[in-house]
Symmetry: C2
Subunit: 487 residues, 2 copies
């Protein structure tokens, strides 16, 4: 075991096996291949049957042309460079409410220092704003001290996994399909993912009987299930949970003594009139469950919604129903990294407190927001219809979030060809799709799926003027694929 002069100090055999085990398909093999193709296209334009790579693998709206909300960016710019706040030219460049808001925010920051580390949980005044926004959303009190502001939602998820997972005997109930941050984080922290399957035939429904079954099975393997992850609206599945279903979930967690980890980052992304987002906190409180009854963590991010500010890395978790001693441990872990970035913190407060009627920016803000959300709804429907028109493809509606997760039923000859290439069938399909069209999707195996079924995840994020090309290239590719491998 002793390292010698000639062998390198770190090899795949000597790194942490938990790192080896971790997988993150959203930026996996297909994306590496896409980046190679992109370089090839830059070096030899015209060398492929397409001009550009369309990254439909990841919920990254601004990378595909979505414009940021002007008011948010005005405030961020002014907070970055407060020296211009009182200059007359600034009134010509910035809306009056952005100037006012930036001043208010600076007043909430000790010493107006946007370049200082903040409180480990985030700037108190911004947490006050967020809490007030959540109160207005839910109609139940929110405590600024319950919020931990983080660099996007991912570090918050890691913090909870780090807290809960002691060994592979600790399990986390996760939906299948799931967003692979969860499987990756559980692997990195050495716990066990306890899968529960969403019911594709019922619109990716979440059945309590399935939760019970999987919980019992885990117990029979001596796994202590610590928490239940629910992603609502769903990723990659797009379903929006019904209120009574959420109530059942809350009851289940209380009865079984599970922490409810609620991924609510798509709370502003609901596209169907008959569904509405309800936070699990609101549902719990409306059932009369208070702090003592349920341990609940809600994750939110500035990367999604209509704002789509992925690069700003703003996010937070609202932590309720934990003892002060456990809260102190979460605080300690947050403190080791000092604080999340201040621009992200400011943005997290802005999305919970956007311009109001009467503010100079209100009209443009509303137009930008409605424009983005209605366009996303149209794109979701167009792509869903397009997938459903393809031979062997079925696709549930995207009620919310930013993805479609069509199921593909492929001919035996394709299955054999994938086997011969020692490749999962969905990866085999996604690779050929990329190669023929430049469209990047993520194979369903990256999210988990019922064994023997195959899917891929495709975002609804290409801009509307690109959608016809996406639909026609997808259709043409799929027809060609089916013809080639027809039995």
């Amino acid at each position: 075991m002793a390292p010698s002069d000639s062998s390198p100090p770190v090899t795949l055999d000597t790194i942490n096996p938990k790192v080896l085990k971790c997988e993150y398909a959203v930026r996996g093999e297909i994306v590496n291949l896409a980046q190679r193709l992109q370089r090839e296209l830059q070096e030899k334009p015209g060398s492929r049957p397409f001009d550009e790579i369309l990254y439909c693998n990841i919920g990254n709206p601004q990378s595909l042309g979505q414009q940021p909300i002007t008011f948010f960016r005005e405030v961020l710019a002014l907070c970055d460079h407060p020296a211009i706040l009182d200059r007359s030219e600034t009134r010509g460049l910035f809306s009056s409410d952005s100037i006012e808001r930036a001043s208010q925010i600076l007043d909430q920051i000790p010493g107006r220092a946007t370049g200082a580390y903040s409180h480990s949980q985030g700037i108190k005044g911004l947490r006050d704003t967020i809490a007030a926004g959540i109160e207005a959303r839910d109609g139940y009190p929110a405590d600024p001290n319950d919020f931990f502001l983080t660099d996007g939602a991912s570090p918050a998820v890691h913090m909870m996994m780090q807290l809960l997972l002691r060994s592979e005997k600790d399990g986390i109930l996760c939906p299948i399909p799931q967003y692979p941050l969860y499987s990756a984080s559980i692997a990195l922290h050495g716990g066990s993912l306890v899968p529960y399957f969403l019911d594709e035939a019922r619109g990716w429904g979440l059945e309590i009987s399935e939760l019970k079954k999987q919980l019992e099975e885990a117990k029979s393997m001596d796994i202590i299930v610590r928490a239940l992850v629910v992603i609502n609206p769903g990723n990659p599945t797009g379903q929006v949970l019904a209120e009574d279903n959420q109530q059942e979930i809350v009851k289940f967690c209380k009865k079984e003594g599970l922490v409810l980890l609620a991924d609510e980052v798509y709370q502003e992304n609901v596209y169907v009139p008959d569904k509405k987002f309800h936070s699990f906190k609101k549902i719990s409180r409306s059932m009369g469950y208070g702090e003592k009854d349920i341990s609940l963590v809600s994750f939110q991010s500035v990367s999604k919604g209509y704002y789509g500010e992925c690069g700003k890395r703003g996010g937070y978790m609202e932590v309720t129903g934990f003892s002060p001693e456990v809260r102190e441990q979460i605080y300690k872990v947050a403190s080791v990294n000092l604080c999340s970035n201040i621009s992200g913190q400011i943005l997290a407060s802005l999305v919970m407190n956007p311009p109001k009627v009467g503010d100079e920016s209100y009209e443009s803000y509303t137009a930008e927001k409605e424009g983005i959300l209605s366009s996303l709804a149209r794109r979701a429907k167009t792509l869903e219809d397009a997938f459903n028109s393809l031979e062997g493809v079925t696709c549930n509606k995207a009620e919310g979030a930013m993805y479609l997760f069509p199921r593909i039923l492929l001919p035996q000859k394709a299955i054999k060809a994938a086997e011969a290439a020692k490749t999962a069938l969905d990866l085999f399909y996604a690779r050929r799709l990329l190669d023929a069209t430049g469209i990047v999707v993520v194979p369903g195996s990256g999210f988990g799926q019922v064994p023997g079924t195959w899917h891929f995840r495709c975002t609804i994020l290409p801009q509307e003027d690109k959608i016809p090309v996406v639909v026609s290239s997808l259709t043409e590719f799929h027809k060609g694929f089916m013809d080639k491998f027809r039995d």
Copy 2:
């Protein structure tokens, strides 16, 4: 073990014991106490013998009044709100080179989208700039693909610990005293900290014989030492390593097959004319050691230097001497969190490529930079002298970084009083100092110290107009303390 209806799902007995074990004194008990005092002062002004809390516990320059570098903030503001780049009013508000630089940076970002997730390692164009800056600094090539941009340096340290530590049988050689991020990260990732003691009598010197001794001792306990952490300039000790000492360290790592983890975040903070910062990469290359000879990771941050932009959470690590397969694993872990915040990435490129002679901002930039660095040097000297003038206190020079780490020799009566209060002596002292003066320092036990010796860490960051008050309050407090507890 099964959770019942009445017991909460998470208690101190059921959380990850690694979290319980982790300590981070920089934001520990003393800071909580200070925050309480601050609220008290706000509610009842005049209730204490001081008007404000002076946070000398943490390297957070802008929280104590240091102003950001104007050029950097101009560029950040323009990148946040590129819509104003072409407006005529902008020319009246921003320097011409900041406008030009912002345009250049936007051109380097795919789609000019500062709101999009970037490449998992950071935007390629910004990594090009950073690599060029490192080449200019060291005189040896730097590869943009070796850089991983992170939200401050802390997540980079965690990533390396996560990669290297498999169990408590894996050890990391760390200086004592050390910056507690290292002990915290090793605890969280379940490894063992193998201490090596810096020699206080020789200006906190790093002795190779001590490294050897501790490595052998660890081996005898079946601990596989994976890496050596060196903090240069030192935190909390302020020493700047001599070139020949660095060469010995590099040789030692190569011989023993250790990864060299070089914390170089204070590279711009050197205050004495006879010492210079040399990166470990430069030292290694100047010895003829290439990629195959030494595995080296250098950490850098935008939080320190003359910029002190802690709230922006920008930083990176330069990873050299690892196999492509291991690099791929690091890339995978970086991908799980998608990317670091784009403002922090931009700022990391700016500090490696500041205004040059001939640029409109060059003069003001240079004046701001020199003003901050020369003032820090004066403050370091004044505080060092003040400490050394106190009875029973000895303090090594701060050659670099942002801290002094004086040793306190206290009377037996104080030792007994601390014992009676079941408190470490340095915590006992720091608490009373805070209570009497509002000055927040961190007890030496948070960094580690030779058993039986006592220290505290105090930043050199209060603004110059505050230094006389700091010195007089410290002096008065210390005299009173010594008189009270004189044997």
